[in-house]
Amino acid sequence: MAESSTAKIDYLSALTAGLWKENPTFRLLIGMCPPLAVTTAVKPALTMGLCVIFVLVCSNVAISLMRNLLKPHLRIIMFTLSIAAFVTIADLYLRAFSPKMSEALGAYVPLIIVNCIIIFRAEACASKCNVWVSILDGIGSGTGFTLALCVLAGIREILAAGTFFDYRVMPKAFVPWAAMQMPVGAFVTLGLLLGLATLITTKRAD
């Protein structure tokens, strides 16, 4: 790939695109498994988000470094290989230093391997851009994803347990909505938030 085409890419837009305009969860609707599965409380959601940022940045760097050597028909296997390696490292780290979170997230940490945000950023950005743009892109998309997870988890945790980040925020008389802890709560909250996100973008476009 020619460097001249990437030189024009605005570093700032690489960083901010993922936050709203190309937010993986609210605007692109990719990688929808964690937003539904690990958002019962903010702590696991934040841990998940940080893991995804780590994997995204590392795999973007690795792929960006080898972008000129990639053979088109072998690129997906290279993406998967580097993603799987970093996910395994993140999983090992959590097991050693945050066993509680590792337990709460269970199989969803290894499942980051098949999260399509990461492979999408590898394909759309890292395999075409230089390392710096790829790093910013990874941080941007990862942060957008983490924010989406935390918003979803915040709403669900407050309504399902009356707490936020394990601190009590609702009055004692509040009756927890058990449904918010179940998959149905994830779907309903996500649906409403997606509707809200679409409403905001269409209002802006008008």
């Binding site: 072998l74 290989l81 799987a84 390696a85 090992l92 066993p99 179940m182």
Partner: protein, 204 residues
């Protein structure tokens, strides 16, 4: 032939090199952190067992890879631990077993006293039961029914006094499957554990 080999290497050298590189990276991470992960796991297990057996100073493996039945009666190979106090007196035994809950497996640590005459209760190692219904097995109200109950198979009843300690366990309303799963785990496992302990001469 040589041409073909050359072609394959040309195509795949990056993949091979990267596979080794990433493999090495994982190996290093594993070597650095796996010890700590094991310690965490052991600490968690021993903390949960300490909740069950009062005054226990440490837990030793009494029988390694004993045959302990799960909720369906299938024999699993799992360790039976012996709880000892500071003077080395045996206080009881604890073991891990599992069964099928409503949506996912349920994994429990069950403790019995030194002569295997009474249950000392159970702790949940893993459960993913329905919030508001099945997850009430985590509550003391349900769990305390097993504390000090005779270590014999128990039966499940729909209504009754939870405070009365006997072999009748009052089920959780709206969570019959989960309640049955827990009692099944107790019933099947206690028979096999007693057998294993008797064979080793650890109880009469």
């Amino acid at each position: 032939m040589l041409k073909a080999i050359r072609y394959y290497i040309e195509q795949s050298w990056l993949l091979i090199v990267s596979a080794f590189f990433f493999g090495l990276l994982i190996a290093v991470a594993n070597a650095a952190w796996s010890g700590k992960a094991d310690t965490n796991k052991k600490a968690k297990l021993s903390n949960l067992m300490k909740n069950l057996v009062q005054n226990a100073a440490k837990f030793e493996v009494a029988i390694k890879d004993a045959n302990v039945a799960d909720g369906k009666g299938k024999l699993l190979k799992t360790d039976i631990y012996k709880a000892v106090d500071e003077n080395g007196n045996g206080l009881g035994f604890a073991y891990i077993t599992s069964g099928t809950g409503f949506a996912d497996k349920i994994e429990l640590i069950i403790a019995v006293d030194a002569d295997c005459g009474k249950f000392l209760g159970f702790e949940i190692l893993y459960a993913n039961e329905t919030p508001g219904f099945g997850d009430k097995i985590k509550k003391d109200e349900f769990r305390n029914q097993f504390k000090n109950a005779p270590a014999e198979p128990v039966s499940l009843i729909k209504a009754g006094d939870r405070k009365k300690i006997d072999n009748e366990i009052v089920a959780i309303t709206g969570a019959t499957v989960t309640s049955t799963a827990v009692t099944n785990i107790f019933n099947k496992s206690i028979v096999s554990v007693k057998e294993a302990l008797q064979q080793k001469g650890l109880i009469k």
